[in-house]
């Protein structure tokens, strides 16, 4: 009863403040009262009298008329036209706010808005447009109900039964969004999919065996107090109490199993309901398809339950509030392990002590072998490493390339990423490092002597070897190359996309390839690209992309160091769009390290997308900034980045719909 009063007072105060500050800020998003179901606030700034004149004065000169610059017209006849444009592409308005905020627009040589004018435009874009749009479209919330991805499902089944490994290859792969396969809005369900869950459940339960041993790697600790019963591991203390009858035994198994399967405490009625399956199964004992184990039917049913197949979180009644401890356990475990919480996390959640111990728990989780999911799932997707399996270097030009080299390339990157995580190195090692992992095959490929055998090992890199960091690894250099030559464009796009989360616009459909009509390059790749950039139409994007790829020209299409391309000496110099330049690869790497703030932000953003299962929206930016500051204060150590994310409100809290 107190809070509506408080809200009114707050609103009044804000109103007053807004009035004082040039009447610009009339309401704040955080104090916005919900109006109707959508929670959409009426626009605070009048478009016609206030915004339109500013757009007209500062923008429409270029972004208007018949041929607006960049094919972007900001000539909106009325607020409805703005709404339509917003509904079609709200990201456009994010870019507008960015350009305005960073002073990229209007360009320096043009008439500049005053500070209050700029602020007013920003308020209009970010509050009236973007914030309202996000609320009415339910953006910026972690999904209330989110299906496990194929990988999450497989890992969860594995850990639920303490299998050493488990694959669910019959399930269809999940569609990618933002480069990742765990985006909530893309994880749909169909009869075909559910049918495969039914089938997998049947096959999984059929594998259970009362003589099973927990996976030596991952359940070693559990083994001391868990013993299998009916193929399900029970705490030894429960087993020791003995069971009067089968009914009690089955119930005990389910009481242990079900909270783990549903990842939350279960009510006695939920156990009762599943016990019905035990009856059914007992009645059918002896039938060929059901193992004579009365627990198996209930287990099979539980594996098809929406409480197992979906991650479900409760909304707070209103506003923003911390998620429950069990929900936090799942957010942590799916983020860091791509699987269900383990017994320690559950135990802390049960005592309501997980949040209080989350830092030490995160550190423990990062040390666990299960954290390899961050390499195998997150990093593989972040770096597009799956594309390496499709790389097809021309065997005539690159006779050394074969599947074992391909595997070695992938292994180097995987081990390198894993090392950064396990040794808690700085994430700037991804940009440049004086070490990598090699075996004989790859070392020879790189021209490094004295490394023999198939085993990979940590190798210190000499500056003379010009290697260090992800983009000098053969995996990346190969997956970004067409079959016959290098592609500085693809390499540049890869760097912009993965290391800076700043992908360029797509090319028009009819851009010719660098090879002319004869199918051969007229000069070096670099020369042909220079000619391409001379075309003003192409220069816009390519002056942004090419400098990131040209520096890597010393590496051929399979990542071998070279100093010549045909008869020509390699020139690996370049200049960025902002005017900074580099003479060679080594200087380029130094330049990249100078951009560690940009890299940190990009890395945080991509980890967040993966961790939250959704794309980031404008309203997330202040949180990203805070996370970055916090990570920087931890010297960019991997654990520091993870902790900064985990401790952020984005990860800790939920917002009710319409808030």
């Amino acid at each position: 009863m107190l809070w509506p009063m408080k809200r009114l007072t707050l609103l009044f105060t804000l109103h007053l403040l807004g009035f004082l500050f040039l009447c610009m800020v009339q309401r704040s998003a955080s104090a916005q009262p919900a109006s109707g179901d959508t929670g959409k606030a009426p626009p605070a700034i009048d478009f016609k009298s206030t915004v339109a004149p500013l757009l007209s004065k500062y923008c429409i000169d270029c972004h208007g008329g018949d041929k607006p610059k960049g094919d972007l017209s900001l000539e909106f006849g009325d607020p409805q036209a703005v709404e339509q444009r917003l509904a079609k592409d709200h990201k456009l308005f994010e870019r507008m706010a960015d350009r305005l905020e960073t002073g990229k627009m209007p360009p320096a040589r043009k008439l500049q808005p005053s500070a209050p004018e700029k602020e007013l435009l920003l308020q209009w874009i970010t509050k009236d447009l973007l914030a309202n749009y996000a609320v009415s479209h339910g953006l910026g919330r972690v999904a209330r109900v989110r299906r496990l991805s194929r990988v999450e499902y497989a890992n969860t089944v594995r850990d639920l039964f303490y299998f050493p490994e488990f694959k669910a290859d019959d399930l269809p792969p999940d569609d990618l969004g933002y480069g990742f396969d765990n985006i909530a809005d893309l994880l749909s369900m169909s009869a075909n999919q559910l049918e495969l869950y039914l089938k997998t459940a049947e096959q999984t339960i059929a594998q259970l065996d009362a003589t099973a041993k927990p996976s030596p790697n991952w359940a070693a600790k559990d083994k001391t107090y868990w013993e299998p019963d009916d193929g399900v591991f029970l705490p030894i203390k429960d087993l020791k109490m003995g069971f009067n009858n089968n009914q009690t035994r089955v119930r005990k198994v389910l009481e242990t199993f079900l909270p783990r399967a549903y990842r939350r405490p279960v009510k006695p009625q939920e156990i009762d309901r599943l016990m019905a399956f035990a009856q059914l199964s007992l009645a059918q004992e002896g039938e060929s398809y059901i193992r004579p184990k009365s627990t198996y039917a209930p287990l099979r049913a539980a594996l098809c339950s929406p409480y197992f197949l979906y991650r479900i979180e409760e909304d707070p009644p209103q506003g923003t509030a911390p998620i429950s401890e069990y929900e936090l356990a799942s957010r942590l475990s799916y983020f860091l392990w791509c699987s269900m919480p383990d017994d320690e996390l559950f135990a802390l959640a049960e005592k309501n002590e997980l949040r209080a111990h989350q830092e030490e728990q995160v550190r423990r989780m990062l040390r666990s072998p299960k954290a390899r999911a961050l390499t195998e799932n997150f990093a593989e997707q972040w770096l597009h490493l799956a594309a390496l399996s499709k790389a097809a270097p021309d065997p005539k030009l690159f006779p050394n390339f074969d599947d074992s080299l391909r595997q070695a390339m992938r292994q180097e990157t995987a081990l390198f990423v894993r090392y950064v995580i396990e040794q808690d190195r700085s994430i700037t090692d991804f940009l440049d490092a004086d070490y990598t992992f090699l075996n004989e095959r790859l070392a020879k490929h790189y021209g490094l002597p004295n490394i023999s055998g198939e085993e990979f090992r940590l190798v210190n890199l000499d500056p003379a070897q010009h290697r260090g960091g992800l983009m000098t690894q053969a995996s990346v250099l190969t997956l970004t190359s067409p079959p016959t030559r290098t592609s500085p464009v693809k390499r540049g796009i890869w760097i912009l996309q993965t290391l800076f989360n700043d992908p360029p616009s797509p090319p028009p459909a009819d851009v010719p390839p660098l090879e002319g009509k004869g199918g051969a390059l007229s000069g070096t790749v670099r020369q042909v690209l220079e000619a391409h950039r001379a075309n003003a139409q192409c220069a816009g994007c390519h002056s942004k992309i090419d400098p990131f790829g040209l520096a890597l020209e010393n590496f051929d299409a399979v990542g071998v160091w070279r100093t010549r391309e045909g008869q020509a000496t390699i020139d690996a110099s370049g200049a960025f769009a902002d005017g900074k330049s580099y003479r060679d690869l080594d200087e380029f790497r130094a330049r990249l390290k100078e951009r560690k703030d940009d890299f940190r932000k990009a890395f945080v953003e991509q980890l967040l997308v993966y961790g939250l299962g959704r794309g980031l929206e404008y309203a997330d930016r202040s949180a990203v900034r805070e996370i970055c500051n916090s990570a920087a204060a931890q010297d960019d150590r991997f654990s520091g980045v993870i902790l900064a994310i985990v401790q952020s409100d984005l990860f800790q809290k939920r917002t009710a719909i319409g808030n």
Partner: protein, 444 residues
């Protein structure tokens, strides 16, 4: 990867060139009743999609109406000339936009613009095959089948600014739920035929009884969740509840005429073949069996997802499809582009051949079907969406006059064709997507 063609002869042993026992014919009590049966034979609608457009001058047919010559690319379809309608000047205008390859497939069968997003808040539109399935699907074990020969991109980013979900899914149950295609032939085989033989049926019946109990159980839970979530989050549980209903229908109401051995001698595939031809033919064979046994009446079969980068080493070159489609006038790339187009057309001829050899009463399965072969992309080099390649096979139960080249008015929405096909499938509506009316010219 080494290519190891599996023996198709082995896989299809017993299937033979002609399928001897069309079920619907088996249903026919006597020749006297044949006429009555012919009138009640169901119509079938199949969309076969190929990606990355065509080299238009090789594709285009010349002449009009009954006096026409098939384009060079279509040579393999010459034997079926009298069973097809070549349609020119149809357009997929909604595929235009920043992400040509992203928008083309979902816009193709929906005629609706696709919302640009990497993942949050995806929105396409219900496609015509799914509308039909929702209307008439209750009559068959599967309201529709969605098949394909590749899953779509599995790494990185698809078309800039668009989630890969658009680029991989041609069929959409609703604006937010794709009807994902099945690519693994073994899973399709099991879905269609598992337990349909005498020796497996007892196990299968027990399995189904158990699964029905499980479905009852999970339905209660899903309804509880559904009640507790707001409207914005409800669609996930709606999908789940719909899936439960669909499976129950599969289990409980198989068509009465499904025989013990519906697979008709086809062996269970064991893996996804590496070569396109092997893969497509397995899918095509199963599709024909499904249509023949009336397990479904609506299907989509995607040869490759838009922007597909499959290489065809069996054609003697290593360049991938999408790269070749952007040939920029290069003669050697155009030649490869043409070869890929022809390769696809050749496999389409295989499918039509199979369908045409299935007897149904006094007619053939093809006579009672409408099989569209097309792409939402015309010239792949330019990402053009006007005059998209469109062929229509079959007589639609006597409602289509074949053996003609119908030249429509320029930029006729392809949705006019879809509206006409929906009409023939029993879905009458005034408008669909960007349609402007029924397509004139399907009857002479």
């Amino acid at each position: 990867m080494a290519f190891q063609p599996i023996s198709r002869r082995a896989a299809l042993k017993g299937l033979g060139v002609t399928i001897a026992l069309p079920l619907l014919e088996a249903m026919t009590p006597s020749a006297r009743a044949a006429d009555a049966v012919a009138k009640t034979l169901p119509r079938r609608l199949v969309f076969v999609y190929f990606p990355n457009g065509v080299k238009t001058e090789f594709w285009k047919s010349t002449g009009q109406e009954k006096e026409f010559e098939l384009g060079k690319t279509l040579a393999a379809l010459e034997p079926f000339k009298s069973n097809m309608v070549v349609l020119s000047n149809l357009a997929d205008a909604n595929a235009r936009g920043g992400g040509a390859h992203a928008c083309t497939m979902p816009a193709y069968l929906s005629g609706t613009p696709i919302f640009k997003t990497q993942g949050n808040d995806i929105r396409a539109a219900t496609t015509c095959d799914q509308l039909i399935a929702q209307k008439i699907g209750d009559a068959t074990r599967f309201p529709s089948l969605e098949l394909g020969c590749d899953f779509g991109q599995q790494d990185g980013f698809c078309d800039t600014g668009y989630s890969c979900v658009y680029q991989t899914n041609i069929s959409w149950r609703s604006a937010t739920t794709p009807a994902a295609k099945e690519v693994n032939p073994r899973i399709v085989f099991d879905r269609l035929f598992a337990g349909r033989s005498a020796e497996t049926s007892i196990v299968q019946q027990q399995r189904e009884a158990m699964n029905l109990s499980i479905l009852d159980f999970v339905r209660e839970q899903a309804k509880d969740i559904d009640r507790s979530v707001g409207a914005a989050d409800r669609r996930r549980m709606d999908e789940y509840l719909t899936s439960i209903r669909d499976i129950e229908r599969r289990i409980s109401a198989p068509p009465p005429n499904l025989p013990a051995n519906a697979a008709n001698g086809m062996e269970r595939p064991t893996r996804i073949p590496a070569l396109f031809r092997e893969h497509f033919r397995l899918m095509a064979d199963m599709l024909v069996l499904a249509l023949q046994t009336d397990m479904t009446r609506v299907a989509t079969l995607v040869m490759g997802t838009e922007g597909n980068r499959r290489a065809f080493p069996e054609l003697g070159f290593t360049e991938e499809h999408h790269g070749v489609s952007h040939h920029h006038g290069d003669a050697s790339l155009i030649e490869k582009y043409r070869k890929i187009n022809e390769h696809h057309v050749g496999e389409m001829a295989y499918l039509i051949d199979r369908i045409s050899k299935v007897r149904e009463a006094e007619s053939s399965l093809l006579d009672n079907s409408m099989v569209v072969y097309g792409s939402g992309m015309a010239d792949g080099n330019a990402h053009a969406h006007a005059d998209i390649p469109t062929l229509l096979f079959g007589k639609g139960g006597g409602t289509i006059d074949t053996g003609r080249h119908v030249v429509c008015p320029t930029n006729t929405p392809i949705c006019n064709l879809w509206l006409s096909l929906m009409d023939r499938m029993g879905v009458q509506t005034d408008r669909f997507g960007d349609s402007t009316g029924l397509l004139g010219g399907l009857t002479a």
